[in-house]
Subunit: 409 residues, 2 copies
């Protein structure tokens, strides 16, 4: 059992404590939803204002060269690559996570033309499953999506499997998969692996190259603090660069986009995965978040994430036993969130939010709390659980206003 | 022949003259590249700062509901719809023009499963051709892209043509196609039509509904002044909403995205064409540009565009006869740019830009000048041609520094 005093001492000793001041955080809020939308870095408004006012307003079209916009997607991609253990030139920022899944899943299937199974996890984030379904229907060549509980994935990989497509950290439960083991098992059967890093990039050390991942995608607006709808990223292992063919062949993925040639010739390497013009304002904001993440020691981030998550889970279990912990608490088995189930999870979360403790609800019954070590303190865990305890004790969540579903929940 | 005085008088009588002050325009620049990247609306920096600082920074995840982010793509889509003659609920902002071409071309081909030809214009913007090629290769069902000179398109439409895919205004020459006639000819043979409005949305009145267009895509960063890499838009005629199937089935195109259901069920209407989370900062900037365009009478914009273009073309032909006009000058046959060919077009444009007259170069030999009536004056035409004349007369473009190719040209 811990105490408020003990947690204050941990904050004082926290090697990452200075990072909190690098973010804008609203008064009266404990923000436990950075795994859905990361907080605003203090440097972002100034950088965005510069891009809008000086680069766009004054530089106009010249800024594609003079302000380096044309290199921005590759430059930020390489920076993200350092956070996820990917070689330079193997990551680029482009499109949304969903569009990137489509591009890479298509490229992967084309590398295993004789195989028809896409293997994924039951309970994977729906967009991953939808994209696999939609692509299979489009190709109309008998591809099928097979989903299994995580624990059964490795045993199910056989010579029919073209691609194993998995999210490293489950959005619902926070469970962390073993990238090295699953990738090795897939390769042993000749299958490729596509990793979705939505809940791992910036949250914990990822080793794409070391673990021999083939493909990866990820999100800019969660632990990378890139802002709402920040563009996503994608990775292709360098050993596959000469072999892959991307299905959406836009002009910015051409080897010579400004030659305006009538026939497509893909740019070499990861640049061939680019399609259209990237949203520069959003991309510039993403770079600020990525730069900030690069300043932190990711091993320290991971250590603090695990510690914060444990404190939070222990306090909730102790003070709110009616909530069922659904996140595996072994350090090697969880990402950077803690989730609890309760039949009234929606209303409970609304009541929490109304009191300034912001997590989110995930249908049908999960309260999800994101752990973001760059701007959360140990004492925040204490304070958040105090509010949660009060909401549960008083039944405050029963108020009718907390039952009203909002568009985004 | 005109005079500087006559042009000053036209500026004084210009009903759109007040719009110029609504834009930020750098000192010493005549900006004739708004068809590549539109100028910065004066209201944009403040709006973007509000989205970053207040909506993201203070509202955090709550802004998806409280600031209406979740409705932004549809709201801005409907506003664009008013500029292009499309019904409410038939336009949405999403992805890039290239990705949207992929989605709609795929949807169109699926509606004509027995047909194999995609018909387009020789010299269409390359991304349109590349996307058609790439999609055909992906489907591997014998689809093929056929390109012809614009004048031969209608005669070539037969029962083998699934989709006629055309850009209404050619990016190179500025030639304007007859949407009504081509669409009717296609429909008479059972073919569908996909219009790329990159160089027409915001530049001239477009009548998608009146002209019976089936599908359309367009660009946010040209005549809509949405900022570098602003998200694109797409349109599907309401009569097709129940029939189309989009190939990239992302979670935000689901009927109930926040139910996180394992199987895809498309949202009704145009919402099913959305894939992933839109880049909110870039999308908010786009809305400012679209709002500004909606304030202007598009008939007046068109009238001024044609008049400015004629003045510019006449002056250049009079004063720089070594430049070959490549834009058809009939009012019904051109969009909102004027292009000239010259073997040294690249160096000439670099010399112009160094003197503050910003147009752009399009390979292999075209000088392209965009006409944007909201922020250009008749006297700008005079002044720009005076600089062009000087560059040609003095041979200033021969300086070695103007021969050096930049990344973006």
């Amino acid at each position: 059992m811990t105490s408020s005093e003990a947690l204050r001492a941990r904050d004082a000793a926290d090697p990452l404590r200075a990072f909190r001041d690098r973010f804008v955080l609203p008064e009266g809020v404990i923000y436990l939803d950075g795994n859905s939308l990361g907080a605003l870095p203090r440097a972002t408004p100034g950088r965005v204002a510069e891009v809008v006012g000086a680069e766009w307003g004054q530089g106009l079209i010249r800024s594609w060269n003079d302000a380096g916009w044309i290199d921005l997607a590759g430059r930020v991609g390489d920076k993200i690559g350092r956070l996820i253990g990917a070689a330079p030139g193997s990551v680029v920022v482009a499109d949304s996570t969903s569009v990137n899944l489509f591009k890479l899943l298509s490229a992967a299937l084309a590398l295993r033309p004789e195989r028809r199974v896409i293997l994924s996890e039951q309970g994977n984030f729906p967009t991953d499953l939808y994209i696999a379904e939609g692509l299979s229907a489009l190709l109309a060549r008998g591809h099928g999506l097979r989903t299994l509980p995580a624990a059964e994935i490795i045993a199910a990989i056989d010579e029919t499997v073209a691609v194993v497509m998995l999210t490293q950290v489950n959005y619902h439960t926070g469970a962390l998969l073993d990238m090295a083991a699953i990738t090795a098992a897939a390769h042993a059967k000749g299958a490729l692996v596509l990793w979705d890093l939505a809940h791992s990039a910036g949250a914990l050390p990822v080793h794409l190259e070391r673990d021999q991942a083939d493909f990866a995608v990820g999100c800019g607006y969660k632990f990378l603090n890139g802002g709402p709808g920040a563009p996503a990223f994608l990775h292709v292992a360098p050993r596959l660069h000469g072999l892959v063919r991307f299905p959406i062949t836009g002009w910015l993925g051409h080897a010579r986009p400004f030659a305006f040639e009538p026939v497509f010739a893909p740019a070499g390497g990861i640049a061939g995965a680019v399609v259209g013009t990237p949203p520069v304002l959003s991309l510039a904001a993403l770079e600020v978040g990525v730069d900030l993440a690069l300043e932190a020691d990711l091993a320290a981030v991971r250590e603090k994430s695990l510690a914060l998550g444990r404190v939070f889970a222990d306090l909730v279990q102790e003070r709110c036993p009616e909530l069922l912990l659904v996140t595996p608490m072994d350090d090697g088995a969880r990402g950077s969130q803690v989730s609890f189930a309760h039949p009234q999870a929606y209303a409970i979360m609304q009541a929490l939010i109304s009191r300034g403790v912001i997590g989110d609800f995930r249908a049908p019954d999960v309260l999800r709390f994101g752990i973001t070590p760059l701007y959360l303190r140990f004492t925040d865990m204490w304070d958040a659980v105090a509010v949660l305890h009060d909401v549960m004790q008083t039944g405050a969540w029963r108020e009718p206003r907390f039952q009203v579903r909002q568009k985004v929940t």
